[in-house]
Symmetry: D2
Subunit: 186 residues, 4 copies
């Protein structure tokens, strides 16, 4: 198959995944982000990269956000939000960090695929992207893509949709003015 077929496959799977996400869960996430003093994100591998892209955008929108492990990572408090990305809900490092965040009474939003996972008892919000994980659950999109690509792509597009919702909620009129908060050295 050539590029046209492959990119169509990707777009169709994304179309299905994004349409299955429940609107009210996304709205809750937007509310949690906008009422947090600081936002932290944690994940592993490509999921972390997508969350870092989200973090970068949140800073442009005037929301203080960072990833766990960043050079200038501050302490988390009960005023803050931790967003955890984990399809299976069983990645060990994010799970451990979730537990620590819980001890500090931070709010926790988990974006994943498995409705029931070891993360369930620690999360204040579960936002479901229904992609198939290694755990082979029912009721999921069975992607033809490599590994968890569909989850990672959905996460990025969800995050960028959330960014647009925040622009509206915070009534940011001039999107172009955002460049003033953008890094300017590279």
């Amino acid at each position: 198959m050539g590029y046209k077929e492959e990119s169509n496959l990707v777009l169709e799977e994304l179309n299905e995944a994004l349409h299955t996400i429940r609107e009210e869960e996304v709205e809750q996430l937007v509310d949690m982000i906008c009422s947090a003093r600081k936002v932290f994100v944690v994940g592993v591998g490509r999921v972390l990269l997508m969350l870092q892209a989200f973090t970068k955008r949140l800073n442009h929108l005037g929301i203080e956000a960072n990833y766990v492990g960043a050079i200038d990572e501050p302490a988390i408090t009960d005023q803050d939000l931790l967003i955890v990305g984990s399809g299976s809900g069983s990645s060990i490092v994010p799970l451990e960090i979730m537990k620590i965040a819980k001890k500090y009474n931070a709010k926790i939003a988990h974006i994943g695929s498995n409705v029931k996972s070891p993360m369930s008892e620690y999360e204040d919000l579960f936002l479901r992207i229904p992609c198939k994980t290694k755990l082979d659950l029912q009721d999921e999109i069975d992607s033809k893509q490599v590994m968890s690509s569909l989850f990672e792509q959905s996460l990025l597009l969800l995050a960028d949709s959330v960014a647009l919702m925040i622009v509206e909620k915070k009534q940011i009129k001039d999107i172009h003015a955002l460049w003033e908060k953008h890094a300017n050295l590279e």
Copy 2:
């Protein structure tokens, strides 16, 4: 606008952007990647994050790939490929690194939006994603999203389509076996 409208907007823009990419340019990129001894990527900000996600996947597919600045970055040689991501084609750091790679006679593929840019004279392949950049050129998709989100999203989906093409080209039969090359510590 709520999540449904925003995610539809994102998907429609992506649909347009991905369909405008020229098939032969993608095939050239696939060839360059598969014939390189090592692949390096360079970019700035969210573009770099998307290229790092690509890099991660290439390693899973058995292709040695890394980003410029990585802890274990080796020396580039004339057997290697540098993939540069820059919409405007004028980001200073990637441009300087492109020039150095050229001195070592590495092959250079540039993924960007502006057909004519300071990068043009150094690139062996220009793969165009026709998103509007800050430079306000004609003949581009005028995205309603925040900043360069459409370019970054397109880059990720293009890269994941390329990954699928490589799976086919290299006749990797068992996608699930790829997990064996996947990091297993987190």
Copy 3:
């Protein structure tokens, strides 16, 4: 106090810390590194930065090394070595990663201060840098520096001493030739 006094303080503390490290533990570490197929490092914050500097040098010396979480991180196997840096021996994320590495039967070397810690049962080698940790144990150097600076500095100098021992062990004659394995794009 001015620069002279402060830098003297730093050097004196380092002198004490480095002299208390036991020679046979360092030799064991050198042996473990040289007989491993791949070396992984894990730590948190500034400790991780020091281990990443070590990782970079090991690659220059022809030893495949990477940090846990790197973009091109491969799977760990029973042929590999995990080096954990943790003064207290109780950092949760490194501890969890240690447990996973143990399941894959990788060798584990722990560089820390506390002789007895949750990490003790998983480590094949404990290399002690006797700096005071937050846990207030006896028999340690009570540094006047900020936080765990002395541990981090000692770790870097220990690692660079180990690099020199590896140069000798592997009979690398021409140190200047090492630049050929060095990144050349920035």
Copy 4:
């Protein structure tokens, strides 16, 4: 040679390097850091890692600091300081970033070895660590260590001495209270 000899070699070279640094240059650096609104650092390879360790500590001391390329990197302004680490003073990427910072009228401090370099015309302060670089200048310490290790080690110890000077200058009484600004999730 065993560990004792190698670590003594390292300590002796560091002793010489740190004692040759001029006190007034360090004091100027401390002043520049304490009067900046934000501090940015840039460098390549192990030098960058040492500067990132410095950045981490500055944040603990209540000084907003980040490295160029960080996920949450803000825009630089004329109220800010850029610290460049480059022994030779000719690393291309840091040099280009220096030029951009200069356009925004940021203050620039360069820590390096070569008194006269392409960076000279852009720097407001040159702080010299007199280690031999690849350029083979006179009047420098000819280290027996691997590559530029001595420069990198000196940079870390200089930075940690500067941290102690800032503690005194800002009259931070309770060093232990600094842990409150420290990341707490890993």
